[in-house]
């Protein structure tokens, strides 16, 4: 009846996951009960769960990512503390637990923290910057989000029911094949990523379509912001790369479920094929994350330097250059698997060529600051921290691209330090820069600067104290994923890294306090004009938070940096542009399709993991039925009457007139 699922699946004899799991389950129950008792459920259902509004979906994506970032960070704390004690000792985490933690840490951080935050920010910002009302396929967008949430839920379910993979975050066969990983851990991994991967692929299609086909009148390609360009590049990469991931993991699932031999040791399987395929996805994935991060930094640096981005066209070229070349470098992840000298040399050179594109970007940011008037707000601090730190990470990356050097450093803590150097400084700093930068747009008030700056400085310091010692440990020969070790020379460096993680914890605490303090002081931090940072692109042209339809009348774009142009014209003429003629606006209706589909996909995934075949059939059938039901819907859109649009926009214009009065005579 329940396949492999028995009461034994709950780790009764392992206090750490059991207690952690119990706390999470209780917390979730408490929140649900609180929501139900307070009567928020209908509101949540109407305004968030079934919402197809790109802004709401963006906020939910980002929230999911931030929660998972905390979850992955707890894994990091456990790993660092385990290694700090496990010198000639067993430590407090036995291998079968420790191995799950580092696998879960990688999986969660990449797929369920970094990806949702990046996709969430793209969701929120891209349609606003393009000057349009929504993405191309709003309901699909909601489905994408809920499928991602399904994946995150399945991964976290493995904490209390069964186990997670003990194979590392990319489940290399043959270790991940049935003979060597008989438990359900790898199955949790496979189905979580297969289901969320479908969601990500749909996001890619959605955003490529949106950016290519739906832009405000006059918004030509070379008037788009760099963030939109990087979003386009990242989504092109998603569309091309995620099918590879799905196919690869699908083949591994066939091996494990139906006795196929794609990657097994025996019967002609070849694990090298898996490793090539997974990195053919995995390296573009790095750029899926970091290109939008570059976009965020471009927006932030330009805004707070009070200048347009330096060499805009060069920046676009560098972005698309990286987008293309990122497909030609995957082999550098396994120089040590014995490919010949020619192959290694080719991929080493192609990898270092990417540094040309990145180098150009760094110099363009540098010259954007040159001649600027730099305001050191929290987002700008994150960007400066990024510029310095990422340059170091890029350098160690090129170092690892030199095959003879990689022969010494592959899989060492030097490598671990390198990719954390680029992902934390690149993606995580960008996430915080982006969240702080666009938070007032989403919620109508700014985040507290004091606590934000404290979080920045502690994160920066914590980062260096954790990862610089790991570079050294790597040079001393320390390899990654060690549950314990006996080499005395590594010890001091591992201990320093352990101190660093405490600083990181303080930084995380500052972030939480920043949020709480800002919510409590929201009236002082209120953004009345919709343009709290003196912004340059179209998202600042509407109110904070924007109405469901984003813009009362679609803006007519007359150049790069359209909102800057609008503001300059208003200041020169000392009046706003004449009031437009308001018309009713058609907006897509909310739909529970995404949520219900994801519910049944969760059921299917769980059933597949535990071999509960009737539930698999039921879940698949139901998920399909939801789509059929959605396809037969009658009403697609609802209309917002012209009077309501006019009422909203006149209020906005009043706020802008006040702003204009304050800026009378002097150019901004």
């Amino acid at each position: 009846m329940f396949g492999k699922l028995t009461w034994d699946a709950i780790p009764w004899n392992q206090p750490i996951p059991l207690v952690a799991g119990a706390v999470v389950v209780l917390a979730v129950f408490a929140v649900v009960i609180w929501v139900v008792l307070k009567g928020y459920l209908p509101y949540l259902w109407r305004e968030w769960i079934t919402s197809v509004d790109h802004k709401r979906i963006g906020v939910m994506y980002t929230l999911l990512g931030v929660i998972m970032l905390l979850r992955g960070f707890i894994d990091a704390i456990m790993m660092r503390s385990q290694q700090a004690i496990a010198f000639r000792a067993a430590g407090y985490l036995p291998p079968e637990h420790y191995d799950q933690i580092f696998s879960a840490h990688g999986t969660i951080m990449i797929f369920f923290a970094a990806m949702p935050i990046v996709i969430g920010l793209m969701n929120f910002v891209v349609p606003l910057q393009l000057g349009v009302r929504d993405v191309a396929f709003p309901t699909l967008n909601s489905t994408s989000f809920w499928l991602t949430a399904t994946g995150a839920l399945l991964v976290n379910l493995s904490l209390v029911i069964g186990e997670f993979a003990r194979t590392g975050w990319l489940v290399y066969p043959p270790l991940s094949e049935l003979p060597y990983s008989p438990g359900v851990g790898v199955d949790y991994y496979l189905w979580a990523l297969l289901i969320s991967g479908v969601g990500t692929l749909m996001t890619g299609i959605n955003f490529v379509t949106t950016i290519l086909k739906i832009r405000a009148p006059g918004m030509s390609y070379l008037r788009m912001t760099i963030f939109c360009w990087t979003a386009l590049a990242a989504n092109l990469l998603i569309v091309a790369a995620f099918p590879i991931l799905t196919a690869t993991l699908g083949m591994l699932a066939l091996d494990r479920y139906l006795g196929f031999h794609f990657f097994t040791n025996d019967a002609g399987g070849n694990m090298m094929m898996f490793i090539n395929l997974i990195w053919a996805w995995g390296h573009p994935e790095v750029y899926i994350l970091v290109l939008p991060a570059f976009g965020i930094f471009s927006e932030v640096i330009s805004t707070f330097s009070g200048k347009p981005l330096f060499n805009y066209r060069s920046m676009v070229a560098a972005t698309m250059f990286i987008c293309l070349v990122s497909y030609m470098v995957w082999l550098h992840h396994f120089f040590t698997m014995g490919a010949g000298a020619d192959v290694n040399a080719f991929f080493g050179i192609s990898t270092s060529i990417i540094a040309v594109g990145t180098g150009v970007k760094v110099y363009n940011w540098l010259f954007t600051m040159y001649g600027g008037r730099i305001r050191f707000t929290t987002p700008m601090l994150w960007s400066l921290g990024f510029l310095v730190t990422f340059t170091i990470g890029g350098m160690t990356g090129v170092l690892l691209a030199v095959p003879p050097a990689d022969f010494l450093l592959h899989n060492s803590l030097f490598l671990v330090a390198h990719f954390h150097n680029v992902i934390i400084a690149g993606v995580v700093f960008a996430a915080f820069a982006g969240i702080t930068y666009w938070f007032p747009k989403a919620f109508g008030f700014k985040l507290d600067e004091g606590w934000g700056k404290a979080a920045f400085w502690l994160s920066l310091l914590g980062f260096y104290v954790v990862f610089m010692p790991l570079y050294v440990a790597g040079l001393l020969g320390m390899t990654r994923r060690l549950q314990h070790y006996d080499v005395a020379a590594w010890r001091p460096w591992v201990l320093v890294a352990g101190i660093g993680i405490v600083i990181m914890m303080a930084a995380a605490a500052c972030q939480v306090i920043q949020f709480v303090v800002s919510v409590r002081r929201r009236n002082e931090l209120r953004d009345a004009t919709g343009d709290p940072w003196d912004g340059r692109s179209l998202e600042w042209a509407t109110t904070s938070p924007p109405p469901p339809f984003n813009f009362a009348v679609l803006p007519n774009v007359q150049g790069a940096e359209p909102y800057w142009g609008i503001k300059q014209r208003a200041i020169e003429t000392q009046q706003l542009s004449p009031e437009p003629k308001y018309e009713p606006i058609e907006m897509p209706r909310n739909s529970p399709t995404g949520f219900i589909t994801a519910f049944f996909c969760t059921m299917t995934g769980f059933a597949l993991i535990w071999h509960i075949w009737w539930m698999v059939a039921l879940g698949l059938l139901a998920a399909y039925a939801v789509f059929v039901w959605f396809a037969w819907r009658d009403a697609v859109e609802y209309s917002i009457p012209a009077e309501e649009v006019a009422r909203y926009d006149r209020e906005r214009r009043r706020a802008r007139e006040q702003w204009l009065a304050q800026h009378g005579g002097q150019p901004a």
Binding site: P94, D99, P182, M272, K307, T336, S352, L399, V402
Partner: protein, 307 residues
């Protein structure tokens, strides 16, 4: 070292201090058995390329970082002496330079990569008048088997080689992928079931080096390390003679026993080795070794609690 580092940190301008930081980190890691303390020709050549590549990049990375900090500070909004130039958004000269510098550096580095990859290809023999010692390596769950086909002996978790003589390794895996790595001797290489990789290393002088698997391979991975003992020629012959006195021989049946998962195995030797054993493993005539023998819901597998 420390006084020199202190000198660099205190007496010199910012440029020197920033470039000194990585050098100090490197020199700290120099003295204690890591990849920057090589004890053989391959490791030394690897480390040299590593440091050269680092040097090439520091030439542009350090000025870039300094420029970032200086620009950001000088052009702060409160600095009334800095000229605000909101129209400075394009410069053909700067554009040429910002594309040119990275391209030139990568062209140069590309040469280093191309030559280095060919010179230090793990499959390439070391030029030496001495005839290389043959060692066949099999990674097992979770221990290392070293077969000396010419001497007809084998050892587990201890690799004894003559110093000053090249060693030619042929490597495969009995089950999952591992990576053979002796940091002080240089280049690591993967071991994979059904495949044979090759590696040439040498130790300059007698000494003991730490060896390990650099590829996570399951529960007992952390104990999958071994000692490399480079000994003088005569001591090597003596070691072989002692090994020939060992109690057990390595044939197919004792291999299958060794094949079972175990970790933290003390080093021991075999007096005699089935000559075709390595090829039988590599060509899968001997089937891949089994994984854990427990299977139940969420099965937890622990290596035997020996520590």
């Amino acid at each position: 070292m420390s006084s020199w580092a202190a000198f660099l940190l205190q007496r010199r301008p910012l440029l020197w201090r920033v470039s000194a930081a990585p050098i100090i980190l490197l020199s700290l890691s120099n003295c204690s058995g890591g990849v920057l303390d090589p004890q053989g020709p391959i490791g030394a050549a690897n480390a040299k390329i590593l440091l050269n590549a680092l040097g090439i990049m520091l030439v542009i990375v350090v000025p870039t970082i300094i420029a970032i900090l200086i620009f950001a500070w000088w052009f702060r909004a409160s600095n009334t002496r800095a000229r605000y130039r909101p129209d400075f958004v394009y410069s053909g000269g700067i554009e040429t330079v910002v594309w040119g510098i990275p391209i030139l550096v990568i062209l140069f580095l590309g040469g280093v990569i191309w030559i280095g990859s060919h010179d230090l290809d793990p499959f390439k023999p070391i030029a030496s008048p001495a005839k290389p010692v043959e060692v066949q390596v099999v990674s097992l769950d979770w221990k290392w088997l070293f077969i000396y086909p010419e001497q007809g002996v084998a050892s587990v978790n201890e690799l004894v080689v003559p110093a000053g003589v090249p060693v030619h390794f042929s490597l495969t895996s009995a089950s999952v992928m591992n990576m053979f790595f002796v940091p002080q001797l240089g280049t690591m290489i993967a071991t994979m079931n059904g495949m044979v990789t090759q590696l040439h290393l040498a130790a300059d002088k007698p000494g003991e080096f730490y060896g390990q698997s650099a590829q996570y391979s399951g529960g007992g991975f952390s104990d999958m390390n071994f000692t490399v003992r480079a000994v003088p020629q005569d001591a090597f012959a003596q070691w072989v003679a002692t090994a020939r006195q060992s109690r057990s021989a390595l044939d197919r049946s004792s291999y299958l026993a060794l094949c079972q998962q175990s970790s933290n195995v003390r080093p021991f030797t075999y007096r005699e080795v089935d000559a075709g054993l390595f090829n039988a493993v590599a060509s899968q005539q001997l089937p891949p070794c089994p994984g854990p023998n427990i299977e139940r819901a969420g099965a937890t597998v622990r290596p035997p609690p020996e520590r």
